[in-house]
């Protein structure tokens, strides 16, 4: 049902600035909060070194488990007398780096395989599907448990392993969209114009499926943060003396009754961050999907 045709240059087009303001006003509070929070997290990730008051290993054995709210240690100290705030800032950086790195890896890997399946079909497609089946058949935590426990956890292995998380989702999306785009529509049109397959995939199909992939990334991103915390719980996440949100929660759980701030500070950051990403992701999905506008 075509209800409105919003195609015409209206006589008085408002300036970009006014449009910008309008856009901002239209953003619901929760989403605005999410965006602000994420921006803060990204800033922290970039400037953790400058922001944190102490080194992450700097310890004061006499000031162990001191309460939050005191001037030298705003968020208190942990079981070794290390500043929780400093560690939290570093943790945010590390967790974001892991989640970001892993999300990128899995998105690139999945999309590439998905495109390959769509382009070559046949054996390649079956291979990709079997790989996807394999990934789906081994729950990720179980697989990570097996790999990390047997090889020992290290940052590159952790990111690499996490990079496998959710790739099959991207592969399926990319494959499906690429096939339907090639079957009819813009991609076929460009092929028909004489474009090379590379141009078709990189210049046309990729930008078009990007929004779906980005939304999918907003789903995997918090899942990876949670997954890392689950691995940290099992002692297989980021390893000391390096710290991450999951690692802090994992080590802090023994202090839940005695010094809850050690665990709660990172737990709250995990929650609010994943919440923000989910909110922004949902909102983005609606924004990026023209049919929902």
């Amino acid at each position: 049902m075509t209800i409105a045709d919003i195609t015409h240059p209206s006589p008085a087009e408002p300036s970009l600035f006014v449009r910008g303001i309008r856009q901002v006003r239209k953003v619901p509070f929760s989403v605005a909060f999410g965006i602000a929070w994420l921006a803060a997290m990204v800033l922290i990730a970039f400037f953790a070194d400058l922001l944190r008051p102490y080194g992450i290993t700097a310890m004061d054995l006499r000031a162990r488990l001191s309460l939050p709210g005191n001037p030298p240690h705003l968020l208190g100290t942990d079981e070794l007398g290390r500043d929780v705030l400093s560690r939290l800032l570093q943790s945010i950086r590390v967790s974001l780096a892991i989640a970001f790195g892993a999300t990128i890896i899995s998105a690139v890997l999945g999309t590439t395989l998905g495109f390959a399946a769509a382009k070559f079909r046949g054996a390649v497609e079956h291979l990709v599907l079997v790989l996807a089946d394999f990934q789906a058949a081994l729950p990720f935590l179980v697989m990570s448990l097996a790999v990390l426990a047997f090889f020992g956890s290290s940052m590159p292995l952790l990111i690499g392993l996490m990079g496998f998380y959710g790739w099959e989702r991207y592969a399926r999306i990319a494959r499906g969209l690429a096939i339907s785009a090639s079957a009819q529509g813009y991609a076929a049109a460009v092929v028909q114009l004489g474009a090379t397959p590379l141009r078709v995939y990189l210049h046309h199909i990729l930008p078009n499926v990007a929004s779906t992939l980005i939304v999918s990334m907003t789903l995997t991103f918090p899942e990876i943060i949670l997954m890392e915390s689950g691995l940290s719980f099992l002692g297989l996440g980021v390893q000391p003396p390096e710290t991450s949100l999951g690692n802090m929660v994992g080590f802090g759980r023994d202090y839940l009754t005695r010094a809850p701030w050690i665990m709660l500070a990172p737990a709250i950051v995990i929650m609010v961050t994943t919440l923000s990403i989910s909110l922004v992701g949902d909102w983005l999905r609606d924004k990026l999907d023209p049919t929902l506008r």
Partner: protein, 328 residues
């Protein structure tokens, strides 16, 4: 006068369809032995019901769907293999205009970027002149310069189709295949686009294949019309003649099913039944189950397409070798 821009001979295109849950794949002939000739600057209309294979034929003429049998020569040269560099290079010379312009346009690129794309792909116009050429093309199809930076969804259906046509014309093709280019448009816009296509074609001396189920539009734009039924051409003649005095019963049925404003439906022959499934091709003349005049021979023997008079062919047992229409 130069030779034909496109010559197709005995084109066949089959694809496999599995029927039912456990069916074996059976070949379905979407295009079944079609021969065509298109002269430079000429417009050939192709009409038929959905499933008649007219879109497949259009894509085969462009070499996008490879033919399993038969041959196509473009400008005297055999059609190169699909996907080869030669094939890609040839795209500059032949273009396709789609039914659904929104689907045919990349919604993430501006109109001007998309119109410039064939120029970039084929390296036709140096970068610094590209904008000028795009502007020319846009004005040629009646798009305003301020629309250059718009995205497809910001345009109306008619404007989008103009953009698609501008893109198709960018590489100065010699052949344009239009697959239902105006069926999705409102009447008023349809007229605008049809007029524009006619003008552009005349200006640039482009040969055109115009595929549509809308007889009125085809009549208006095409010089010659081929009527397709189930993968075959059943009648072909100049457009002035064919709708005035259709010979083949199918053409007649098509003509009479066109609703004309102010003319009541009563007294028209309405074709009964559905267009048959290409997978279950009837024996003999494929049209015979729906033909009001079918005789025994129609059920057993497929009528060949034969010349009825100069510039006129038909495939029907009941059409006499003269230009007289069959008795009603």
């Amino acid at each position: 006068m130069a030779g034909p821009i496109l010559q197709a001979k005995d084109l066949v295109r089959t694809y496999e369809v599995r029927q039912g849950m456990f069916g074996r794949p059976s070949p379905v002939r979407a295009v079944d032995g079609i021969s065509l000739t298109i002269m430079p600057g000429e417009t050939l209309g192709i009409v038929g019901e959905s499933g008649s294979g007219k879109s497949t034929l259009g894509r085969m003429l462009l070499g996008i769907d490879p033919a399993q049998a038969g041959e196509i020569a473009f400008d005297g040269q055999a059609m190169p293999k699909l996907g080869t560099p030669q094939w890609r290079a040839l795209r500059a010379k032949m273009q396709l205009v789609y039914q659904d312009p929104l689907a045919a346009l990349d919604r993430r690129l501006t109109i001007s970027a998309q119109i410039a794309e064939p120029l970039a792909i084929h390296g036709l116009v140096p970068l610094e002149h590209r904008q000028t050429r795009v502007a020319e093309l846009m004005s040629a199809v009646g798009l305003r310069p301020d629309q250059a930076d718009r995205y497809p969804h910001e345009l109306s259906g008619g404007q989008r189709q103009r953009a698609v046509i501008a893109r198709a014309l960018a590489s100065r093709p010699k052949l344009l295949v239009c697959d239902e280019p105006v069926s999705a448009l409102d009447v008023s816009i349809q007229a605008q686009v049809v007029n524009m296509l006619r003008d552009l074609q005349e200006e640039n001396h482009i040969a055109m294949v115009f595929i549509s189920h809308d007889l009125k539009v085809v009549r208006n734009i095409a010089d010659r019309v081929a009527v397709m039924y189930l993968g075959r051409i059943v009648e072909e003649a100049s457009s002035d003649v064919i709708f005035q005095s259709p010979l083949h019963p199918y053409t007649r049925a098509l003509v009479s099913s066109v609703p004309v404003p102010g003319r009541p439906l009563k007294g028209r022959t309405i074709l009964q039944g559905e267009p048959p499934n290409p997978a279950n091709r009837p024996s003999g003349c494929a049209f015979h189950p729906r033909c009001p005049m079918a005789t025994d021979i129609c059920r057993t023997t497929a009528p060949p397409l034969r010349a009825i008079s100069a510039d006129r062919t038909a495939a029907c047992h009941l059409v006499a070798d003269s230009a007289e229409p069959v008795a009603a």
